[in-house]
Symmetry: D2
Subunit: 345 residues, 4 copies
Amino acid sequence: MIKVAVLGATGYAGIEIVRILSAHPEVKLEVLGSHSFDGQDISEVYGNFAHVLDMTCEELDLDRVAECDVAFTALPHGASKDVIPSLIEKGLKVIDMSGDFRYDDIKVYEKWYGQEHSSPELLEESVYGLCELYRDKVKSARLVGNPGCYTSCSILGAYPILKSGLGNSKNIIVDAKSGVTGAGRGLGLGTHFCECTENSKAYKVATHRHTSEIEQELSKAAGEEVMISFTPHLIPQKRGILSTIYVNLNKPCTTEEVIEIYKEFYKDEYFIRVKDAGKLPETKHVAGSNFVDIGIVVDERLNRAVIVSAIDNLGKGAASQAIQNMNIMFGLDEKTGIERAGFYL
Amino acid sequence: MIKVAVLGATGYAGIEIVRILSAHPEVKLEVLGSHSFDGQDISEVYGNFAHVLDMTCEELDLDRVAECDVAFTALPHGASKDVIPSLIEKGLKVIDMSGDFRYDDIKVYEKWYGQEHSSPELLEESVYGLCELYRDKVKSARLVGNPGCYTSCSILGAYPILKSGLGNSKNIIVDAKSGVTGAGRGLGLGTHFCECTENSKAYKVATHRHTSEIEQELSKAAGEEVMISFTPHLIPQKRGILSTIYVNLNKPCTTEEVIEIYKEFYKDEYFIRVKDAGKLPETKHVAGSNFVDIGIVVDERLNRAVIVSAIDNLGKGAASQAIQNMNIMFGLDEKTGIERAGFYL
Amino acid sequence: MIKVAVLGATGYAGIEIVRILSAHPEVKLEVLGSHSFDGQDISEVYGNFAHVLDMTCEELDLDRVAECDVAFTALPHGASKDVIPSLIEKGLKVIDMSGDFRYDDIKVYEKWYGQEHSSPELLEESVYGLCELYRDKVKSARLVGNPGCYTSCSILGAYPILKSGLGNSKNIIVDAKSGVTGAGRGLGLGTHFCECTENSKAYKVATHRHTSEIEQELSKAAGEEVMISFTPHLIPQKRGILSTIYVNLNKPCTTEEVIEIYKEFYKDEYFIRVKDAGKLPETKHVAGSNFVDIGIVVDERLNRAVIVSAIDNLGKGAASQAIQNMNIMFGLDEKTGIERAGFYL
Amino acid sequence: MIKVAVLGATGYAGIEIVRILSAHPEVKLEVLGSHSFDGQDISEVYGNFAHVLDMTCEELDLDRVAECDVAFTALPHGASKDVIPSLIEKGLKVIDMSGDFRYDDIKVYEKWYGQEHSSPELLEESVYGLCELYRDKVKSARLVGNPGCYTSCSILGAYPILKSGLGNSKNIIVDAKSGVTGAGRGLGLGTHFCECTENSKAYKVATHRHTSEIEQELSKAAGEEVMISFTPHLIPQKRGILSTIYVNLNKPCTTEEVIEIYKEFYKDEYFIRVKDAGKLPETKHVAGSNFVDIGIVVDERLNRAVIVSAIDNLGKGAASQAIQNMNIMFGLDEKTGIERAGFYL
């Protein structure tokens, strides 16, 4: 059994990791780290765990964590600064949910995060945990930077068309809509029920950090620098991200031809479901799962592809992708514990 | 492996059975019966199943079903009239989701359902599938009448206090609130999003059929005829039933004392979680699970207990309880496939 | 024009008062008091007011307020302690949204609020602002204690049957469901979108302060002391309260007979809509309005009436009732500014 | 008083017209046409109107309608084919909610609607009722084609930047999100509560009819043919459209400069609220109102403007804009009856 610590276990990403791991056949949860709920049973903090998981939240204790094989770190930016190097040093594998270990180029990180990086060497070593693209590197990684929620959805949606050379690298627009769990469990007027329900809005237009993460990967796909418009929106649902991606085509083609490119590109990927022509993703199809659904329409009038991709922001956008990474890192079937259909209802 | 047919697989109760069974380690789904979607892949009807379950919906064919070990019948009232006797005759075990096999007394059924019963002998033989109360009978049953959603929640909430003799059998009120999946997938103005969201209402006041089912069981608990006010309400959420139950006490006692009675009564029950004093159930704690959460407050001013019980109407109120029954009928650990924590988010 | 100050203008009750008054033909808004948003334009705090209401929030300044004819005080408990006597002294009429001036008996207040009352003389003088019952007293009042949201809904729902002598004063149950605006704009985990949506729960069972307010009025209706079970529930919608009220009958009667009693009792009341037999209230019918909808079913099996009443907790449960009181106090047609149909959508 | 008929009064657009007109000081509602609810009181169909509007729905009777001054036609496509010419002939002014009278070029209509136009002469005469752009023509119109919901939001959002010459007419993307009332009251699985809530999706990608309407107007703004990507999305709320519009800039400029262009362009428009830099629209700010909120961010990295516009699809996107048109046609202050702040809550 793989011994696991979840640090920051009581945030939304953390608790979704816990929920999935509590039923993972190869895992033993050892440590639930939570500063805010230190000493409380997890079933007091999240009532759904009563009778299922009998564990107590605890303040971070590196020696306790050191007994584990792997740590998921879902800590506030900065809080993980000292923690992760210590864990690596103690021989743990680490899957980090923050933005700190997702970048190839430290300058990009420092520009978009507005701060110096605290562990340049570890950044150098870390692997970007978008499993479908970096599976081989993840296998032997000690430290994985788990991708952002918007980015997983958007990169996987746009990658094949750029990689194939069919998509033009200019004028790419990613218009993304996220459920409210993406904003986390912290309190703020913006996540008050009465302010959120029956409401939609764009936010951080042209400035959201995930822009840089998407650009990094799409540039690699295109083989040249890609800069995109990325606009995140908050919509009144808990789970789900829908990315609508606009890519001009380098030559005329049909919807079916682009779909074929995607089906070929993802032909071995269990978690990626490319829709047939005429079908489009809906977030309820992926909620509660690790799946990525992708639908494509070519607007022949405009010689432009409209690609719609959907994930569960807590699933493929956070927790279940982290577990997919763990499965890969420990040589398990990568579907273990996360192969199920989503909730739909 | 137990070979399973789900008849009426594309309604909400049916598809939740399918969703759970698609990950049940001892089950092989053989037949998905659906009149409306005959010939369509289940993943076209419910997109969450793509890559997970590769099956096609089919029109009812008794010979096909006869190859199975057990059938879940989630058919419209009446549609199952001829089907169930045939299946029993062919040697299948049947777990029926309708109200047809839940009654001890055929007259009660005929009064509340306003029609003659088509299979009095099978009704006689059938077992009421409220597992926590009738586990032993379920073990050897050929035909289980799976309880209604409101009834599972309400009976389990009120049973111990009446059984103990502490609760008075007069003036019992069950005020229940249900999510909209309880109304099924059929179309009607009452389930239109714009008519449902931001809206609550009572319906079928004093006439809902589940009244009779609750009364049947509470009468057995009390050892005398119990008649209750049962008021169902529709509230704007998908999953969840919350029953608020008012029972006068035969003698003064404290909240803690009543909780103790409940904890003792349910001490061996994994799926029933009696809350400590000061804690109350919330539907998000049980959504997506087979759990029943029960909280109790004694109003000493009034010498009355207020008992709040919560279930997922699609879970313990329908699909997962049906699977719990199946597990019992086939000698499996009754938690198999349904032991997980609910979604919470 | 009546010059109005709204103190605590940026809470949910306060802003609903402002919204209605901004279109009231006989009112001039003079002061929007807000400690938290002092110096900010109201349209920055609530974007719906841009181009409609050009006013700035201001810290409480009694001299400024003194220029008004009437003040609505929607201040935190305690904050209004010194304010209200000063305003009265300066000759303003005051409509207070807190619980401080709703009681006949100071002892009841002090028991349920757990504190000494700071202005016993004003409590003595104040009028309980449930317009349909106390219209005559409101006319000449200097200080009105505007009723609570649950209480308006519940008292108006139960009053006629008790007043008529048909309803028995024992075993009355009020099971009430409220939208989340009732919890106010303050931040807390309980009002986080992801914790609220798709969730229902009971809270403050047997201890909610509104119990005492309902009992006070129903005791007057019954002509004897009435004690009730009152259970508030939080349901995932913004606006609306639905109270389901159970009252045993002193003699057998029909649904139609009870409805007739209600229609007669409320025959001159514009804002109270008693439903015909077979019809029941829904919160969407009253959302955004000052209406109270009441539906009745007699359960002849049990000789018990089930009365369902619905209001908008921000409307008749707070803001529009406060304005109805203002209209009465200033000799206007009481419907002025609040006569419109609710939103429905 | 203007005598008004609303034909198709019980659909969502129709009933919102009725709701607003029931409080319009210059209007007398004379006829509520409804095929489905012929003979029923409007308060039976929409319970919010009880005590407010005492009218009965009636089957279409041209002689009855002929007594009115103006008719709002919210009839199914085709149903209005014969009706509108008759009404015009009888001397009524007509405001049509369908797509039939919104086009300059009959060929565009016939291409996008896939049918011959039944009244080419009336189309020729009709005025496109986007008040802020065509106020002068509306004044003297007999027949107004009220704009579509998506189109009002999108055209008003993009018009100034194209008109100014700053926006490039190529590569314009309009990514729009709509609440579910936009889908109407008709029944379908897509509007079932359990299928809609907690779900988002794109639909009719590259084929939605509103594309042609937006292109018609933006082409006039740009002075050359504009072709756009328009992607509608369904999001889980009742009211509200949010359009996120991407326009490349012909020369570098700042957010503030573009905002200034918008503020100047709309400086006399009460119903258009251009946000200051750093502020963005939210649908709750416009829900229940006739306002259009517009926010702008220039992404200087990409030399592209991102414009976010928000309306209530039932308000400025349908009913209140229709009433704004009526006000203009009858020489009233165009704000009459629709000047209020939206609900927010």
